[in-house]
Amino acid sequence: MNKVSKKRTTIRAKFLLSILPILAATIIVLVAISAQLSKIYLEDMSIAQLDSSITNQSDNIESWLNKNLEFFSTVKHTIETTNPDEQQLQTIINSTYGYNKYAPNGLYIASTNGKFIKAAGSDQKVSNVTGEQWFVQGLTRVNMDYGTAYQNENGDFVVSASGILLLEGDDTKVISSDVDLNQISIIVNSGVKMDGAKAFLVDRYDGTILAHPNASYVSTNLDDQTGTFMTGVAEHVRSRDYESTTIGKYYVDFKQITGSDWLLISYVPKDLILSNIRNLTFILIAVGVLALLLVGVIIWLLASKLFRPLSEITEDITRMASGDFTVDVTAASNDEIGLMAEKMKEFIGSMRHMISSINAESAKLKDESENSNRVSESMFNASQSQAEAMQGLNNTVDQLAVAVNEIAENATTLAMVVTDTKDNSEQANISMKETVEISKKGRDDMEHLGTAMSEIKSANQELVVSIGKVGAASEEITKIVGMIAEIADETNLLSLNASIEAARAGEAGRGFAVVATEIGNLAQNSSASAETIAKLIQQVRDLIDDVVKQANSSAERIEENSELIHAAVETFDHIYTTIQTSNDQLEAVVNNIQKVSDVATNVAAISEEQAASTDEILETSKNMVEHAQNITSNSQDVAANSNELAGTSQTLADHVAQFRI
């Protein structure tokens, strides 16, 4: 990773760089929207709270005013209904002293005739009764009501509740009671229900400030005030615009106190609400930043986890790029990265296999190119020596040509000598053949004699055979005669038996007995004839045996002659064969001489051709010398090429050596 260019960045960094700004933007927008909405809601809420507060206050003031007024009215009503005399009236007035804590001096009564009745304990000072504000205002109503604020002769700021007391008499009496403005201020400000809010009370017709948290404002006129806020309020009061509003740095709300001329003004500093909004915004931002950090860290961790296999693969690929194929890719995940790793693994496997093959091949190539180098060197050497050898051969062939020419001349001479020898030996051959003819004739005659001897011999043998046949026939006759003798005997017996039978038969057989006796006679005759014949044949046979003996001895003699003849034939054969052999040998000599003649002739021709061939050879060997020289230069080129090849294969080997497998 460090090896790559510095501009290079990881996919995780890219991912984080793209996702984190979006995340940050989203959170910023969320925080901004939240803050803005919170601001709106908080403002509205604050105004509503201010409204609620001022309503509560005005209700408090109203009920406080009414409570006091009811007390005063009750006293007034009592006086009117009881119609007391002066004494009783004083008693009633005295009893009101200190009864109501908000009007400690109690009630007091004044008449148009200048009479003034006040409680015994009252410290009220009155100099001009009919000129008093409370008296003048009291004359304008029968029901007691609050008038405007004023400073009494004791120096206190008060508001009087006064009204006409309906009693008998010519004069008109006014009954009145004072409530302290300070007391009203307390009531006003104690009724505030909102933190930081303040309120003051004004007479909406004359602008007198009846109550204010700052006592110095009390009884001054609103229209006389300075400052943005007070003049703003005064403007609103003048124009009777009592809607809640913003004046200067304050939210302001107005409320009329029913049954009086009073207007309650409540205000709260905007800063108070804005500081809440600021706090909230700060918290929102803090939460946003925390969320951003947290989510950022989570995303970072997730991204790390997700992309770790990828960076491992990247490292592996980087190592591979630098030629290291010994990396062991682990394919742990089952996603695309896992698949990538798996395929990488396969790729590395095939690469390793391929590189090792290339390695082996390049080594081989290197060896072979070195071999080739050597071979081409030796070839160069060989071709050089061949060229030299060819040069030598060239010279040799030159000399050879001279030698062959000499052989040709000698062979021609030889051929002439042989021709003479051949004529002499042919003469000898003819003489020899005559000798052969004669010896052959002698042998043929001998052979004719042999043949005649053989014919005699065979005739003799035929004679023996014929005699043999006669012997055999006589044998046959002997046998037949024997059989006739036997039959004659049996017939004789039969004739005896028949005679006997015929004797038995008596008369009847007599004829037959005669016949039988005849037959017996005949049989006896036959037997006697047969014996005669047998004796004759025996004589024949003895004669034949003599002939055969004669013939056999002739045959022996012929045999002896034949053997002598055969020996003569063989002698003749030897002679003939010997002569024939001599003849053949002589012919062979003649033939050989012929052959020598032919050979000599051929040798002469061949030598001439050879002489011509040697010229061609000479030419050829010259060419060969040139070729050999070419080969030499070529083998030099080959040597250079194979050197180059050796270098290339070295380079290849070096390159391949960069890959570690």
Binding site: I40, E43, D44, D51, T55, T112, L139, T140, R141, V142, N143, D145, I164, L166, T172, Y205, R240, Q256, T258, G259
Partner: protein, 327 residues
Amino acid sequence: MKKNILRRILSVLTGVALVGTLFTGCTSTKSSGGSGGAKILYVETDDDDTFRASLTEGIMSAAATYGVTVDQVLTGNSVAKQVEEIQNAKANGYTGIICRLADVATALQIEDASDLPIVFVNNQPDDNRLKDSKYVYVGSPEEDAGTYEAEFVWNKLGKPSSVNLVIMRGEKGHSATEGRTNAARNYFKDQGVQVNIVFSDYANWSTDNAFNYMSIIDKQHVAYDAVICNNDSMALGVVDYLNKHGKADIPVTGVDATADGCASIAAGGMDFTVLQSAAGQGERAVEAISIMADGGSISSVAGVTENGKYIWVPFEKVDASNVSSYQ
């Protein structure tokens, strides 16, 4: 702007709530046939007052115009009775309420008694009790009545720089009393006229009270240039007193243009009155409640304020010149 957004959010929420209401079973609303068949309960204290009698008449005649059924109940001044009637209203098939409050302070109880929309008449509740197209007040702007009276008096007297004034107020705490009186005083203040209030008290709408107060004033022998009354009844008492004491030329003004008031003007007694149109208020009240009963917005009703809480039916000025048309 913020309020507009809030109002929109509120109106959306209200719309959602209303749609929800439709689904949760307002079958009675649907079965009654929409606005044409809306059934309205009119909760009234009494019809003793001339104006309230006219108002009731106006509401009843408008009911026919708008095709709704209006049932009137009189509760007297009993808040409990009013609450009870309204609590039962929904069960009895009513889809809207017209109410004359016995006590303005009880507006919240009246509203909480049911979820039906309410049109308040005659007696105006506090502004924060009102809600756009849900709790609406139909009336006439009380301030206008007071302003018209003061304007008439000042012109009648020839636009003097100072005025001695007698004011006869109505009931203490009543919205009309406060509104009319304050408006009259404010009118003079705005004109830069010095007002010397000779007398100002609550005559409780009563002719006799007004008459008595006039005698008390005269007992002191103080001068006054005009008498401004919060209504015609009191003005008639004042006129009666003045006529009897030879002061008929003092201008006397009232509010309501009642029959007696108009007759007095025609006879040269009272000088001026303003008509709070009972018929007009009745009609607007019925129109508003018939829309609200269907969950609609009253923004199209004549005289509605921007915030949708009030429907103002303007006063009409009545003096000798035009009194004949109101008799």
